[in-house]
Symmetry: C2
Subunit: 250 residues, 2 copies
Amino acid sequence: MTDSPKKIQAKAKRDTAQASLTLRPAGLNASEVMLFQRLVDSIAERRLAPGAKLLEDELAATFEVSRERVRRILLVASQYRIVKLEPNKGASVARPSQKDRKEAFALRMLLEQQVVRLLASVPVARQRVIVGELREHIDEERAALANGDRKLQIRLSGEFHLKMALQTGNSLLTQMLQEAVTFLSLALAAHAYHQNLDCSIGEHTQLLDAIAAGDVQRADGLLVDHLGHLEDDMAYNISVAQDDEKTLDI
Amino acid sequence: MTDSPKKIQAKAKRDTAQASLTLRPAGLNASEVMLFQRLVDSIAERRLAPGAKLLEDELAATFEVSRERVRRILLVASQYRIVKLEPNKGASVARPSQKDRKEAFALRMLLEQQVVRLLASVPVARQRVIVGELREHIDEERAALANGDRKLQIRLSGEFHLKMALQTGNSLLTQMLQEAVTFLSLALAAHAYHQNLDCSIGEHTQLLDAIAAGDVQRADGLLVDHLGHLEDDMAYNISVAQDDEKTLDI
DNA sequence: GCAGCTCCGATTGTGCACAAAATTATGCGC
DNA sequence: GCGCATAATTTTGTGCACAATCGGAGCTGC
């Protein structure tokens, strides 16, 4: 017995929504996209440390695909600033400089402020739906906290921001934010685990309240604070580590 | 007789600055980057129309490179949304939808507002240098107008915005703007020639004046107007043409 | 006449073999 | 033991041949 068309469609929609929360480069076929995401995950979760050499044969062996496919994926990943590709020297996991980190953070802030502004000024009827869905997400976050599932908590905490962007209906904006967030996860990963996740839930809730009230100013302020906390954590953790590269300030 | 080290360094710096005004994807070697830019130019100048099929063999022949190299370039171009790459169906010049156009425009506006804000709040000493360089650029624009060199005029008019971004010293912001502008040039190209370039010079001057005066509010307003003119021209020209795709307004 | 089927040419996808380059290892003179 | 040239090995780059796939032309039967 097969699923009804309606059921299948619903599943497809769910899959799409799920998929939008991860980087999804064009020009790759389905299986290549999966491999790409595995690579990105490996980097984001620091199984592959910044600066690590990425040998084509090695990756081909572990992923069980041909070297050509690995090369394609590395090329795409280099466009997202996740891996550094040097001619005749091969690929390595990118090591974002302090300047890169700051710039990525500033970009994320800029994009998210726009997201919040857009959501706060959406017609009330539609806004109610949006806010409802986002509150459900926060419920999930709360459940993860209650269950002590820290890993899930971290993922949900990040996805909240992407879900907000999705709700604006602006796919370009969403994708840019996705890129910035992914790049930042590379720049932070090891440190991000220190962030205070409990307070994250509270801040998400407050932010939604401000949006629902149409209070752009307050929402903006809350967002700046919320992301600011992240940046502070980062700055602290970075200063503990050694400085990798000299930053070329213009 | 060879050049002095200082001279060489100066040249290198000039080249870099020049290069930053065009899309410069990572992960490609020097010759591939040149081919990539030729492709982008061909598309931006509408020698290759939106929707045009890009046969690998054909491109390989005209560019006099192997098919493999063409494939790499097409893959990279697809990341920048310039070409559409469909599995087993090959590449074609992207045909941005109305929604794509709007989103790209909104993104460009957001990024440039940030640029202007940053420039307006830079320390005066440094700001004087920046404004000076940008005024020189406007002089070039004026010269092109006087000479009746419309093509140069168009190029300079666009480059003014990228030079502003460069002066912020934020390379990520600059690159994002570069991407947005390139994508928009694909979305507009044929129509952009209609834009009023004389008034462009005046608007650039006013914008600089406001920045030099540190008047963020005024600079922002001028920018919105300036880019708004572009969008209006676009919207008008688009409405004359037939609608290509259905736009999925959420 | 046309719906559907099959076959054929054109085009893209993929693995492989070899070339080029870089990195590491080796040996030699001092 | 050290610096340096050189050989050996590893790793990346590239072209090519063939496989898979697509689109359309032409045929067949109703």
